[in-house]
Symmetry: C2
Subunit: 388 residues, 2 copies
């Protein structure tokens, strides 16, 4: 390492330390930042100046200065300039959001569209149009979007930006990130993983301990959050709840197996052909017995699959998201009954089943939030990059 | 913190750094130890002298001295004095082992005994007798046993040394660690977790990447090893493979559920009443069709439950241990067939199913190995304790 490279690496590390402290504990005076981080006041002042110039931090009035009690100028994380793009391709919708560095949601859009009827190329073009218009609107808000992540409904290879297989879309090995051709770095991740992170950062996640977040869509995925981070497994495919066995001789599944949870509790199993979620909820509210029975069956199957998940993963809490959020009053009871029947004697405590506080937008929010986490963990990489 | 306490804490930390380096990379000269750890040669010499006096390290001939090429006196971890006790209570046997600091197995004993026929008090007395005789033999070998862990067949509370529930023994909230009244610190842990660690340290574990180790006994448990450490879940109950659903309307299980894997592939499901594993293996070798069919059914059910486990946990490899080790030639084929049927289309690679290299002794070996890990992580706690 040359002297110059070493200096840049040290500066990048210190920028991350200061921005991380502002994120977790700000607003803070420069003196308090120096005390918290162990850096000298001169170094802190220089780093804060760089962060302010980059629009990542801002002076925000005065606060008491810790032990000394003298008021000083407070510095906060700024949401005014740097932002992140979250996108989602799912079976019957596209979604996007722009979240700023302070994790405030600035733009949020959803398009209902049956992506099974289109080629991957067409779906990606449509998402590109959505993203491009959101980027233009973000610029109009004075935001500079530093990067994006696309949530995809199946196992992904993050290093190549590819979705390996999306049985409900009929996709195989589609290189989504590159094909989007957006003017910013774009990565991909599994939508169930990102939805769990969305719940963690934008919903009730922080209060839940270790949790399993269920994303009910046409497919069903889960994200497992342990100690505030995703449990991904050896290849990033952990949490495939939709293909956990409910009954091994049950109906055939698009995955090649049979009797998978998706066949009992996925959106296609719950909705009669041509009906949408709004109609189903209206029927449930009106006390329609066929609709209630469908939710009872789905909830019960969900509870059976979740009992296997609890036996294997042992979470504190189960969060129901996606379509299970609007259906929560009708599916959670049967699911909890199955959990208690199968786990009650073995465990001092059966995990609570709670409703997602984010719902349908969890995956794109988690995607944008993941980009924000990366920026805060390494602001130097964004600061030192050439301006667009 | 007083100056003296701070000094002791620093010394304890440095002892761990030096012993850890000897464990991972020894034999090493004092000069190489100083270079590796960043400690001064004087400090290293003093710490090595302490470790040698405590019998944790030993001078072991000469080796080349890294870059300088000058030969020096090599220091190694010593297995001659400090050792650990691993114990196991299972449904139809007791087991114990003594492992020395260099992870060499010095004593290993198993007693076949039906513990369902006895009270918890009697079982614990019998284990106490086994442990006491092993401790006497260890003393005869010049070993000083620093601590022990008991492997138990059910969810445990490690902080109180209690097994919460062992449905196959009929036990509830039994405080095993205290009741043993052994003259050394004793902890408890789940046998499936410890068996996975036994495979990691004494079997093929290090070469397996992230793996799921299945302990087939009368009950079936699993231990999940991720990045060389156990995945325990929020309350330490992760890996309860035996109660993962094979068929939700299947036969009732002692856990309160129905159709759990244990009812299809546990030892009681495989063995006709009165028959033991040796007889079953002999019948299988002789080509007995009823015995083959029983293994085929058990293996197939195991594959169904493992497909749910792979969907949720995504391990690299599945290791079959306990009774599934001697039965491996007859159960692994049907299990792999079910895994490929259910996972083959969704995943680029279905986890390999391999046989345990440790087998029946995995849990007590993992228990003793866990004590050795603790000693190497904090040798000061043992060094500074009063000698017995």
């Amino acid at each position: 390492m040359t002297q110059a490279v070493r200096h840049d690496a040290m500066r990048a590390g210190n920028l991350a330390v200061v921005l991380g402290a502002l994120d977790r504990r700000g607003p803070l005076t420069r003196a308090a930042l120096a005390e918290t981080t162990g850096l000298s006041k001169t170094t802190v002042s220089k780093l804060v100046a760089d962060l302010i110039e980059a629009g990542m931090a801002v002076e925000s009035g005065t606060v008491g200065d810790g032990e000394r009690g003298r008021p000083g100028v407070a510095v906060s994380l700024s949401g005014h300039r740097v932002a992140a793009l979250g996108l989602e391709i799912n079976v019957d919708y596209l979604a996007g959001c722009v979240v700023d560095l302070s994790r405030t949601v600035r733009l949020l859009r959803t398009q209902a569209v049956d992506n099974r009827a289109a080629t991957p190329e067409d779906v990606i073009l449509r998402l590109r149009a959505l993203a491009t218009s959101m980027l233009a609107d973000a610029t109009g808000l004075g935001l500079s979007v530093a990067g994006g992540i696309v949530a995809l409904p199946g196992p992904v290879e993050r290093s190549t930006g590819t979705i390996h297989r999306a049985p409900n879309l009929g996709w195989r090995d589609v290189a989504v990130a590159g094909a989007l051709r957006l003017p910013l770095p774009v990565l991909v991740d599994n939508e169930a993983n990102l939805a769990a992170l969305g719940e963690l950062w934008f919903g009730s996640g922080a209060a839940l301990g270790d949790f399993l977040h269920v994303s009910g869509e046409i497919g069903i995925g889960a994200g497992v959050v342990v100690d505030g981070a995703l449990f991904r497994g050896a290849h990033g495919y952990a949490g495939e709840l939709g293909h956990v066995v409910v009954s091994p001789d049950g109906p055939e599944c698009r995955c090649g197996g049979a009797g998978c949870l998706e066949r009992y509790a996925g959106q296609d199993a719950l909705l009669p052909p041509g009906q949408d979620m709004t109609t189903l909820v209206a029927r449930l509210r009106a006390g329609d017995p066929a609709a209630s029975a469908a939710c009872e069956r789905a909830g019960s199957a969900l509870g059976v699959a979740l009992s296997s998940a609890v036996n294997l993963l042992d979470p504190d809490t189960i969060v129901l998201g996606g379509i299970f959020a609007p259906l929560f009053p009708w599916v959670s009871g049967p699911a909890e009954a199955a959990l208690h029947r199968r786990l009650g004697q073995m465990r001092a405590r059966v995990p609570a089943v709670v409703v997602s506080q984010v719902g349908a937008d969890a995956a794109p929010l988690g995607a944008a939030g993941q980009v924000i986490q990366r920026i805060i963990a390494d602001p130097g990489a964004y600061l030192l990059a050439p301006q667009r």
